[in-house]
């Protein structure tokens, strides 16, 4: 049961990733791209956790936590660049 659920979840998030990719390449706006990249990070976190469940190890939880943290920071940096130009002022 759990393996079937995992497979389904993998498929969903993978599809999500591909949609994100579409948004990033097509735009049309810089904000769309940034949001899509941020969502992509979230999807990757989800995939990591699913993979951790599949393998039965906790190592990936920590990795996903770090990805979440730095993903947030990159998004903030991209946004600041768009809004203010200078990211540290």
């Amino acid at each position: 049961m759990i393996s079937a659920a995992l497979l389904f979840a993998f498929a969903c998030y993978t599809l999500g990733l591909i949609f994100n990719l579409w948004r990033i390449t097509r735009g049309p706006d810089a904000a769309d791209r940034i949001l899509a990249l941020d969502t992509m990070v979230i999807n990757v976190i989800a995939l990591l956790i699913l993979y951790g469940i599949l393998e039965g190890t906790a190592v990936y939880y920590e990795a996903s936590m770090l990805v979440a943290m730095v993903g947030f920071v990159s998004t903030v940096a991209y946004c600041r660049f768009m809004l203010r130009g200078d990211i540290i002022e």
Partner: protein, 956 residues
Amino acid sequence: MTDSSNFLVIIALLPFLGALLPGVMIRAGRTACAWFTAFPTALALLLLLVLAPAVMRGETIHAEIEWLPQLGLTASFMLDGLSLLFAGMILGIGLLITLYARFYLSGNDPMGVFFTYLLLFQGAMLGIVLSDNILLLLIFWELTSLSSFLLIGFWSHLPEGRQGARMALAVTGAGGLAMIGGMLILGDIAGSYKISEILQAGDAIRASDWYIPALILILLGAFTKSAQFPFHFWLPHAMAAPTPVSAYLHSATMVKAGVFLMARMWPALAGTDAWFYIVATTGLVTMVIGALIALFKDDLKALLAFSTVSHLGLLTMLLGIGTPFAAVVAVFHIINHLTFKAALFMTAGIIDHETGTRDINRLGGLRRLMPVTFVIGTIAALSMAGIPLFNGFLSKEMMLDAAHDTTWAGNPLIVAVLATVGALLSVAYSLRFIWHVFFGPVRDDYPSKPHDPPFGMWAGPAFLATLVVVIGIVPAAIVGPLVAVAGGAVIGDAEMPYYSLKIWHGVNAALFMSIIAVVGGLVFLALHGGLNRIWNALPRPEAKAIFDWIVAQVAALSRRVTEASHNGSISRYLAILIVASVALGAVAFGGSGLATPSREMLPVSLPVLAGWLMLIVATGSIVVMHHHRFRALVLIGIIGLMISFGFVFLSAPDLALTQISVETVTIMLLLLALHFMPKSTPRESSGLLKLRDGVIAIAAGGGVGALAYAFMLRDVDTISGYHLENSYTGGGGTNVVNVILVDFRGYDTYGEIIVLGIAGFVIYALMDTLLNGPAARRLRNTDYAQNRSRDRHPLMMVVATRVMMPIAVMVGVYIFLRGHNQPGGGFVAGLVISIALLMQYMASGFAWTQNRQRVEYHALIGIGALVAGLTGAAAWLYNSPFLTSLYGYVELPPIEEFGIGTAFLFDLGVFMTVLGAVMLMLYSLSRIARYAGEPINVDPMDYDPKQAIVDEKGEV
């Protein structure tokens, strides 16, 4: 090692250790500074005197420390008669110069710097004369060139000083380069780089086919250093140095290094026709030309400089003659020249110091105004002229004697005649020095009122002048034993010739030559005015102009070569590099053929396929969209994310953590820079060029892909197994990646963090230069503030990052602490903490965060590198190699027993360096905005909500 050997090593090291003192002691005043310069010199001299009796008995003291035995390089020193003579001169004159310089330098001169340079030079010079290994000697030889460059250019505000220093460095440096070649050949012939062994192999060396090249190369080094014709021109230009430097380097020590080298190598190289014709002829020509120019120089120091050139020529000629007698005379003249020439230079310095000029035409009549200086200067100059009762006379007589016995290309007269001419000119310029400076009427137009200097300034030259007289009258008693033992060291195994150090040798040829010289010299002095007019009317080559022309030509040539091969287009460099790699790869692929694949392809899962698709699409999109820089950055973000994801999937969590952190920091760096750059890349390449680049890129990418594919299908022996087996037992950690980083390959990591630290400093320095240059003006005049959001530091961001800070730091610390056994370690932790700090910079502003910074990032880099280095060095205490780690278990009551090793400390160093370097880079880049006129705010938010409430209440 015995006590004597230890003493010898200490003597060689003392000046270098002492060089650390003056720079510090200058804070305690100029006199204290001079005392602390004199202290190491005096101590070294004392130790030398302790060793002297043994050397005078004929022993040679050796000391040896292994350095790089594989290269034949050992730090070996020896002290024989010749070394003793030179070391004594270097240290003794060093003391006198220290005293003299204390009074010579003005209050505006940085005396601590001067004495530091002086001691460095002294150490280098001592190293040359004490070395028992030619490679070590070469190192010290180059050090004298460098330290003399610093000393000659000491008055760096004077253009002559800078030019003179550069010329001296170029000429002596080029000679040194030639000498390296010569010494390596010599060591190869002799089969050893040890001087004592080379000297034993003299016959083999002289018989070798490589004797002539080695000889010429070594002599180039010696001739440039000792200012022999045609390399003599740098010495007068080096006179722009402060007089203590001229007196020390250009009369007593450095210029004698070439002579020392010829004397040192005399048993191995001398005695052949080649040696005689090259060395003796050069010396003879230099002696005459130097003396001739000296006669017509009006600048006191230039006169003395050319006289030094002439006397160095004399010494070279004596060594070149190749008979033991001439060699011993050379040793004796080295002592005599040292005493009178150093005294004369100091006298010239005193005259310059007290009258404000050293132009002979503006001097005269000083004998009544400066009686003490007059006496010292006259004694020394009479000795230089070779007048009886002064020491210069004795060695000049012996020189003329040696010249008289020398036949040049079958002609028995030519050497004797030219030597007499040299002596005659020497008398003329020496007497001119006395006559035109001290005699004649007292003038009333000296630039400042002349008077005798304080005692400290004339004490040194007075001591030397006393030596001149004492040696002149009772030579055998004073310097007889020293000449014997030093001369014996020069001539090696040859039989000691008969000579006697006394004033009256009876009526012989040398006496007549001497009489001709003195009478002729007086005639020349009387006719000087007329001769001077003729001399000035004659066309003469100007050495400085020629030198400048050559330098300009060489610079132009190298610029042409550089411009032809480096046109500044990075795509061209990359094309060359990559095409070459691909070609090599193709050759290797086609070469021996591949083994048959031994592995099956793995099934492709859905996320992997998606990841692969994303990488391909993102890469392709960058190719299409790279002109739009911001979009390219976002696409790069995808690639970074997917690579990290791939690392996780392929069971490399350490790499994934590092990759994702590096990715974030890189994005921020690029965004910071992009703000001040055009937002799109210009279109430069033509269609054809794009095609070329595309083909190259596909070939390279495809090649690497094929390589990876080929490897992954085959079982290859790797060193991974070794690391896996030994990680816990050898390195005390279960995280193999971290154990490799901090233990197995700790040396690499140590190098890498230092490179990283340097990169941080370089970015800081470049940015500093940039912001103080024209770029800063352009920045100030550009308005970047168009159409921007008004809220610089949104409240939500400030609060969110403030809350995240402790969590992020805890994650960082956690990752660091567990790094040795589970994914993590110093490198990742450094990145994580720096990201946590960067969040504060972004959210709360530059100034607010900067105010809360306690440790400078520069310092952090330094401390980190130091901690890592000391941890590595601690292994030496246990007689283990650098970076050997120790491991043990510790029990602290509240926590469970845990393992800890020195690797932990090393990792701490890595952590601090990474943190410092990353922060320094981002800090440097974010400084640009401040220069562009961006205002800063010390408060965390532009808008204070508390203030708003007060305002509202106020309204109510």
